[in-house]
């Protein structure tokens, strides 16, 4: 065992608390939410401390490394670390978990059971953080799978509507099938490359693998991760899951779980099998842009606000995938930026929509009463703010990810220059559609002059859990370099290794 104790603590603390809460008696119900806030708070503090003490000049190096032997027969170690690529996602995860815990203090969806709810939330946090911290293939896989079970329970038990159980089942079956493909891909990669350590895989750059093996790995690993992202046409589990999920599950699903897929693509697939990634990049880009357009058009047709945001996520993640597919630093950095931005913005959107549901009992666009600006000005402002950020208004965080992805698509690493430029134009049109459907929502819900009964505006606990997200959306919109300076060294390093070995 060696290294810093910060990262293992970040995982062990919620894990221990979660196990205690799940096995504790009913007496623990009173304390559960407080424990949730405390544990996620400590984790966030550790994450922030990590970020403040982060040596940004050396963002490409692994910080706070921890290694301990685990399964020597399979050469698996408990190997954790954080670099510029994972740090933003780690802090994002810790932040969203903390905000969800705060939100839960005042609002617990039916059927209650605070102990189980908070326990599962903490369990989920372990899986999410672990995915971003893991430094070898099998550990990544274990944490990646860890999130499925708590998410299934959160949707199936605390969800809303009659369709919640089928939605949870579809979610778990889809992602499991993807995961098994991914695991097989990992095993092929592991045995062909002779290592499962991320930095060794990146250093090897797939040199020991034939191009057909690389292609096989890309299809298996990329296919598995693409389900999680989700990439069109593998997205069909997402809208149902989002519609049925309780607010905090939606927030974490969109804010963190989807990112696990794109993070895996950049962390594992891109540097380990550069040749294979290079070969599929044009196809990936094409599917990504289909996702952008499809997400926008489908959002236009939705009557349910949660479904609409879910489809808009498909579009936004399409931009992230497009950025990755360019395989140039600016595009991949844009993708990683878009990842974090989408997490913040969509987290905020789902929070606000959850607030609407609480007040009006529905998220249907046709049933929601109008004139939100007049009735609950603060809530309406946050909805408008999040929608503007989501449609990519310059000055807010949503802009940079999409803009940089498009810039990357202008001069991609692939030789299919014409294809990428056509895709660029089509994707840019997609942003126009996105503007259209969100403006339609705002007009439908926000405006109007019908008299209506009084409804409570933004409550204290809501403000506490939502405003930090809004502030960060604004901050990263105005100072994108804060994030880009972190991801750039890692992305350059991974791409350089890829270019060196792949050509």
């Amino acid at each position: 065992m060696a290294g810093s104790w910060v990262l293992p603590t970040m995982l062990a603390l919620p894990l221990a608390a979660s196990v205690l809460l799940l096995v504790a008696g009913r007496g623990a119900d009173r304390w559960a939410r407080g424990i949730g806030v405390a544990v996620t708070g400590v984790d966030l503090a550790l994450g922030v401390r990590l970020a403040l003490g982060f040596d940004a000049g050396n963002a490409g190096e692994l910080h706070a490394r921890f290694t301990a032997p685990w399964v020597p027969q399979l050469d698996i170690t408990l190997s954790l670390g954080v670099d510029g690529l994972s740090l933003p996602l780690v802090v994002l995860t810790a932040l969203l978990s903390f905000l969800c815990a705060i939100y839960t203090v005042n609002h617990l969806p039916d059927p209650g059971r605070p102990r189980a709810f908070v326990g599962l939330l903490l369990f989920l946090q372990v899986g999410m953080l672990g995915t971003f911290l893991a430094q070898n293939l099998l550990l990544f896989f274990v944490f990646f799978e860890f999130v499925l079970i708590p998410m299934w329970f959160l949707i199936a038990v605390w969800g809303s509507g009659d369709r919640r159980r089928p939605a949870a089942n579809v979610f778990i079956l889809y992602t499991l099938t993807g995961s098994v493909l991914m695991l097989i891909g990992f095993l092929v990669l592991w045995w062909q490359a002779g290592t499962s350590d991320f930095s060794a895989l990146a250093a090897g750059g797939g040199a020991s693998m034939s191009s057909s093996t690389q292609l096989l790995v890309v299809l298996l690993v990329g296919g598995g991760l693409a389900v999680k992202v989700p990439m069109w046409p593998l997205h069909t589990w997402l809208p149902d899951a989002h519609t049925a999920a309780p607010t905090v599950a939606s927030v974490l699903l969109a804010g963190v779980l989807l990112k696990m897929g794109t993070y895996g693509l950049v962390r594992i697939m891109l540097p380990s099998v550069p040749q294979g990634t290079h070969d599929v990049a044009p196809y990936l880009a094409a599917l990504a842009v289909v996702g952008v357009v499809y997400g926008a058009l489908a959002s236009f047709g939705q009557r349910d606000l949660k479904r609409l945001i879910a489809f808009s996520s498909v579009g936004h993640m399409g931009f992230v995938l497009l950025g990755i597919a360019t395989l140039v630093p600016i595009g991949v950095n844009g993708a990683m930026f878009g990842n974090v931005a989408h997490g913040l913005i969509t987290g905020l959107l789902f929070f606000v929509v959850g607030g609407l549901r609480l007040r009006f009992g529905t998220t249907s666009l046709t049933e929601l009463p109008r004139a939100l600006y007049a009735r609950t000005p603060r809530l309406a402002f946050l909805l408008a703010f999040a929608a503007m950020a989501s449609l990519g208004l310059p000055g807010l965080a949503g802009f940079w990810g999409e803009f940089l992805s498009l810039v990357g698509a202008y001069l991609p690493a692939s030789s299919e220059l014409t294809l990428f430029r056509i895709l660029l134009v089509v994707a840019a049109l997609g942003t126009v559609f996105a503007a259209a459907y969100f403006l339609r929502v705002l007009r439908r819900v926000g405006q109007g002059d019908r008299p209506a009964p009084r409804v409570a505006d933004l409550a204290g606990y809501e403000a506490a859990s939502w405003l930090p997200l809004a502030a960060l959306v604004l901050l990263f919109g105005l100072a994108p370099a804060l994030l880009l300076d972190l991801t750039a060294p890692v992305v350059n390093h991974l791409l350089a290794a890829a270019v060196g070995a792949g050509r």
Binding site: W70, V71, P72, Q73, L74, L138, V142, E145, F146, L148, I149, W152, F153, A156, V157, R165, N169, I172, L173, L176, T177, V180, I184, L187, V188, W191
Partner: protein, 484 residues
């Protein structure tokens, strides 16, 4: 020359102790029947004593020797590990049996006598060192279990036992024919000299080859591999649940021990049997998982699943089809899988046994909402199923699956690895469907578990759970049972 075999009882102590306990259980029931549970407790005591003797026996070496030739009974590391697993599995089965014998009104003396007779065979099997003893001992394992299946004497038990009996004698006949061919072409039956014989390529003949393949039959019947799989679901469903658990774990351990002995003996001609086993393993995994998909009864589902799981255990042996690379770790992978399989499968059977006290047919519907009404049992069963499926949090199952999968991957038998991958994905469907059912909220349906008197079953489930959790947290305990 002294041709009388010397018998060193200290080497054979575990076998002898189990056999003596079997007799005692029968006698106590006949003459001193004070409490109905005495035979069971004696069986438990006998098994634990045998377990204590295991490490001592390991030092002792071999017995039943023909001077200057070979010994019929020999103990080495893998022998002791397999014997330990057999005894551990049998302890769980006896614990589960305590209440079932009462509930079903089975004759206690006979039940434990038959069970321990079979266990004695299973303990002896890994130590046998000639083909005749091997096949005879394998029948010692099988025959009492046929009687055990029939012991319930109801409409389901008789056909269940008959079906098992028919498959058993067919496979036995095939193997005896194989034995005759091998003996005819080589003139020897002891494993050591057969090993040397088949390492001479000049000795390879059609007769010998056919003989070797045919000998595999009896072992493949024991592990319920294709084409000897069809008896398992009906037999398990007709048997008392602990007996079904015994057939799916301990009896299979004996079958795999036999398979290991046979394949190691004929390792000089591995392309022959590895090709056969590769086809068998692939079909077993697919047939087992596909069969399990359509089941509505818990025991039948576990029966099909245990066919599939046996297919996974066959994979390391079958992986040789891709080349001899990495064959050193082959046995280590199998034993690791068997150790984890023992815990997760008997654990699942123990919970099913608890539920079936109130719902004798143990349909999957009877498990709906179990986790809400009986959280401990429900969560344990869900964990066992996650292990069987090989998904986190069932890390024990995941790691042994990866370990097994490493064999075909490193030998280059990619198609086998792909088949195993596909089979595992199919398996997810029914394990998870069952696990999800445990957490379904069903209004009006009440799953009741009567724990009264069932402390043995509860203890079996608890021990299996502890083992499964320990193997999940520290998989190296299972993976390191044999050096890779």
């Amino acid at each position: 020359m002294n041709v009388i075999q010397s018998v060193d009882l200290s080497v054979m102590a575990p076998v002898v102790i189990v056999a003596v306990a079997a007799l005692l259980a029968l006698l106590v029931d006949l003459f001193l029947a004070q409490g109905p549970r005495w035979p069971g407790l004696i069986a438990l005591l006998g098994l634990l004593t045998a377990a204590v003797w295991l490490p001592a026996a390991r030092q002792a070496g071999s017995t039943l020797c023909i001077p200057h030739a070979w010994c019929a009974y020999d103990v080495n590391r893998i022998t002791v590990v397999l014997q330990g697993l057999v005894i551990a599995g049998s302890v769980l089965v006896v614990l589960m049996s305590l209440v079932v014998v009462d509930d079903l009104g089975l004759p206690g003396g006979e039940y434990y006598f038959l069970l321990l007779s079979s266990v004695a065979g299973a303990v002896a099997l890994p130590a046998t060192r000639d083909l005749v003893s091997l096949i005879v001992v394998l029948e010692v394992v099988t025959l009492p279990t046929i009687a055990l299946v029939a012991l319930r004497r109801d409409r389901r038990a008789a056909p269940a036992a008959l079906q098992m009996f028919l498959f058993s004698i067919v496979s036995l006949a095939v193997s005896l024919y194989g034995l005759a061919l091998v003996y005819g072409s080589s003139g020897r039956v002891d494993l050591g000299s057969l090993w040397a014989f088949t390492h001479e390529p000049a000795h390879h003949s059609v007769t010998l080859g056919v003989g070797i393949v045919l000998i595999l039959a009896v072992a493949l019947f024991k592990v319920a591999a294709v084409p000897f799989n069809a008896w398992a679901p009906d037999t398990y469903a007709g048997a008392p649940i602990p007996v079904a658990g015994y057939l799916s774990v301990v009896s299979k351990l004996a079958g795999f021990a036999a398979l290991i002995l046979i394949t190691v003996t004929f390792s000089g001609w591995w392309p022959l049997w590895s090709g056969v086993l590769a086809v068998v393993a692939a079909l077993t995994m697919l047939v087992g998982n596909l069969g399990a998909l359509r089941q509505h009864s818990a025991v039948r589902l576990l029966a099909w699943s245990s066919i599939a799981q046996a297919g996974y255990v066959l994979v390391p042996l079958a992986a040789l089809v891709g080349g001899p690379a990495g064959s050193a770790g082959m046995l280590s992978a199998m034993v690791a899988y068997l150790a984890v399989y023992l815990a997760m499968n008997l654990g699942a059977f123990a919970v099913v046994a608890l539920v079936s006290r109130e719902a004798p047919s143990a349909r999957l519907d009877d498990f709906t909402g179990l986790a809400w009404q009986h959280p401990v049992e429900g969560v344990c069963l869900a964990f066992f199923l996650a292990c069987l499926a090989g998904l986190p949090p069932g890390l024990a199952g995941l790691f042994v699956k990866v370990r097994v999968l490493a064999e075909p991957a490193s030998s280059g038998a990619w198609w086998l690895a792909v088949v195993m991958g596909v089979a595992t994905v199919i398996g997810l469907a029914y394990y998870l469907a069952w696990a999800a059912r445990l957490f379904r909220r069903a209004d009006g349906v009440h799953v009741s578990i009567r724990r009264g008197g069932a402390w043995g079953t509860v203890a079996a489930a608890g021990l299996a759970m502890v083992a499964a959790v320990v193997f999940s947290v520290a998989p190296s305990l299972a993976l390191g049972l044999l050096p890779g």
